[in-house]
């Protein structure tokens, strides 16, 4: 009994400490953002609760930075990246899971080999290709979005994830549908996709998070502030407000609100252990 109590107590202490450490950088940022102009944010000893609590920093940064534009851009890019990934990955996964065709081994190994090619090692030629295809923001909004979306519109992880899911669907249903004259496309759309919707949801959510947080590629291709995504815009705060940490902090906190809300709503997908298949390097 006592042993069990000690065990529970030490577990809680450890996990409370971990949760606190996990939140601390954001709490400290929030505290700084809420401190008024008369407060010394560098004061020793530091104090957490603002003495002159104010939202002025948030208001000023909101006025100066087009956050709504950044949100909109990030949303468009992430949403289309998710949709294209779901469609293309599951389309490609169907023949890999169910059909025998000439060249299957070659196609399979080709797709598998892209797992070993890190984007960071090929980003220069990808940039040259995107330039050649006129998919950069100097050609307008839509080309700019395309350049952000298409290089990430499909990847091998998604294809293999969907293939795994299709393999676990019993074949009998498809065969019955096929005998009834159902086309392969309709088998894919009306049987396989609904049967694998949990996996599709996992793929959608993790693709969304990845796209939403992506920094390297947008910071390479984007030249116009009107097309900045959130991470690029937030990084830009450092330059805009040089060392004014109240404003940098306020801007950073504003920028994470949408993803925190998304996370809270979708939390069961993140922490239920279903994401085992979404392991990514």
């Amino acid at each position: 009994m006592i042993r069990k109590f000690i065990k529970g107590f030490s577990s809680h202490t450890f996990l409370i400490l971990m949760s606190f450490l996990s939140l601390f950088p954001f709490l400290w940022l929030t505290s700084t953002a809420l401190k008024g102009m008369d407060e010394n944010i560098f004061q020793y000893p530091p104090y957490f609760l603002p003495r002159d609590l104010t939202f002025a920093n948030f208001i000023q940064v909101w006025k100066q930075i087009p956050f709504l534009t950044y949100f909109f851009n990030s949303f468009i890019v992430a949403a289309f990246t998710v949709i294209l990934n779901l469609v293309f990955s599951s389309l490609a996964a169907y023949p890999l899971a169910r059909m025998e065709f000439k060249g299957k081994k070659v196609v399979f190994s080709l797709i598998l080999s892209t797992i070993m090619i890190p984007f960071q090692a090929i980003m220069l030629p990808v940039y040259l290709i995107v330039l050649k295809l006129h998919m950069v923001d100097s050609y307008g909004c839509v080309p700019g979005y395309l350049g952000l979306i298409l290089p990430f519109a499909v990847n091998a992880f998604g294809i293999f994830l969907m293939r795994q899911a299709f393999l676990s669907v019993p074949k009998e249903m498809e065969e019955a549908a096929f005998i009834d004259g159902c086309s392969l496309f309709n088998i894919w759309r009306k049987i396989l996709l609904p049967m694998t919707s949990p996996t599709l949801a996992v793929l959608a959510i993790f693709t969304f998070i990845g796209s939403w947080g992506e920094f390297l590629w947008p910071s390479i291709v984007l030249t116009k502030k009107t097309l900045y995504t959130l991470p690029v815009g937030v990084n830009d705060l450092q330059g805009m407000f040089s060392a004014n940490w109240r404003l940098i902090a306020a801007g950073s906190i504003i920028s994470i609100i949408p993803i925190i809300i998304f996370f809270i709503i979708m939390q069961k997908y993140f922490v239920s252990g279903q994401n085992e298949g979404a392991v990514k390097g």
Partner: protein, 290 residues
């Protein structure tokens, strides 16, 4: 029975994915090698063939060696910690106590927040007159330049990567822990093993494949580190946090030195290939088997 269909139909389904992978993976992949063999310094539009000369230049470049050693230093700082510590957290969370889902959500939170914001938050903690230096002062250590001192900068960056990774690897371990047979723990208890010993003799051996997977996965992502460095140090001070990807980025997009960027990319490709092959053949072979 088998479903009969025209053979080309498979390729209709594969078509969009193959086209995109072709344009954005295979062509760039081969171009990386082609560019690495050309000399762009005299005429960027009509590069002359340089053969392996660029590689000779790269391998004699001190800056590249610094980037290479920095990358491995970063890997050594990050990987052992990210392979072991999240397992400990997962074991605590798996211990059937109340409030587990709240703990999980809070510890996972940094994973979903953009690395840019996390890096900015830490930059603020690391400030010269910041809160971390205050804590140091409390234990009689004089303030350190977390991001401005060449001795500490890489460690400071590594701490950010670790902070952001714990929740991610914790979830991988948690789903693996479900698979450990319960009766083994009971048997260990009957033998009088304490908590620590139970995990040492039952959990760890059972999770060896998962631990190995986390080692390779976290190694691959350590080799690719970029955003934290770009946001916090820009490779400085004095190149002390310049890693391979940062070197590639700088060469390619700031100095327009396409050849050096591509040679370094080939080195990165080879390094990651080694880890990926280990990963695919040993730890994830089930998913990648035809």
């Amino acid at each position: 029975m088998n479903i009969y269909y025209k053979k080309y139909i498979a390729y209709l389904f594969l078509f969009p994915a193959l086209v995109l992978l072709g344009i954005f993976f295979f062509i760039p992949f081969f171009q990386t090698f082609v560019i690495s063999l050309k000399d762009y310094s005299t005429d960027i539009y009509n590069p002359a063939f340089a053969g392996l000369r660029n590689y000779a230049v790269l391998l004699h470049s001190k800056e590249f060696y610094t980037a290479l050693t920095n990358t491995f230093l970063f890997l050594i700082l990050v990987v052992p910690f990210l392979s072991i510590f999240p397992l400990i957290v997962a074991i605590f969370i798996n211990g059937k106590i109340r409030g587990v889902s709240l703990y999980k959500v809070l510890i996972y939170l940094p994973v979903v927040v953009s690395i840019v914001v996390v890096a900015i938050a830490f930059k603020w903690l690391y400030a010269q007159e910041g809160i971390l230096n205050y804590f140091l002062q409390l234990i009689n250590i004089s303030p350190i330049g977390w991001l401005t001192d060449t001795r500490f900068a890489m460690l400071s960056v590594a701490i950010v990567t670790i902070y952001k990774g714990i929740g991610y690897y914790m979830m991988i371990y948690l789903s693996a822990l479900i698979g450990v047979p319960k009766d083994l723990y009971e048997a260990a208890e009957v033998d009088g093993a304490n908590e620590f010993f139970k995990h040492l003799t039952v959990t760890i051996p059972h999770l060896m494949p998962t631990i190995a997977l986390v080692v390779t996965v976290s190694s691959i992502s350590a080799l690719k580190v970029f955003a934290e460095i770009y946001v916090m140090t820009k490779g400085g001070p004095l190149n002390s946090t310049k890693t391979i990807v940062y070197y590639i980025y700088e060469r390619a997009f700031e100095n327009l030195d396409l050849s050096m960027a591509s040679c370094a990319s080939v080195v990165l490709l080879i390094l990651i290939l080694v880890f990926s092959i280990i990963n695919i053949t040993f730890f994830e072979n089930k998913r990648y088997k035809l």
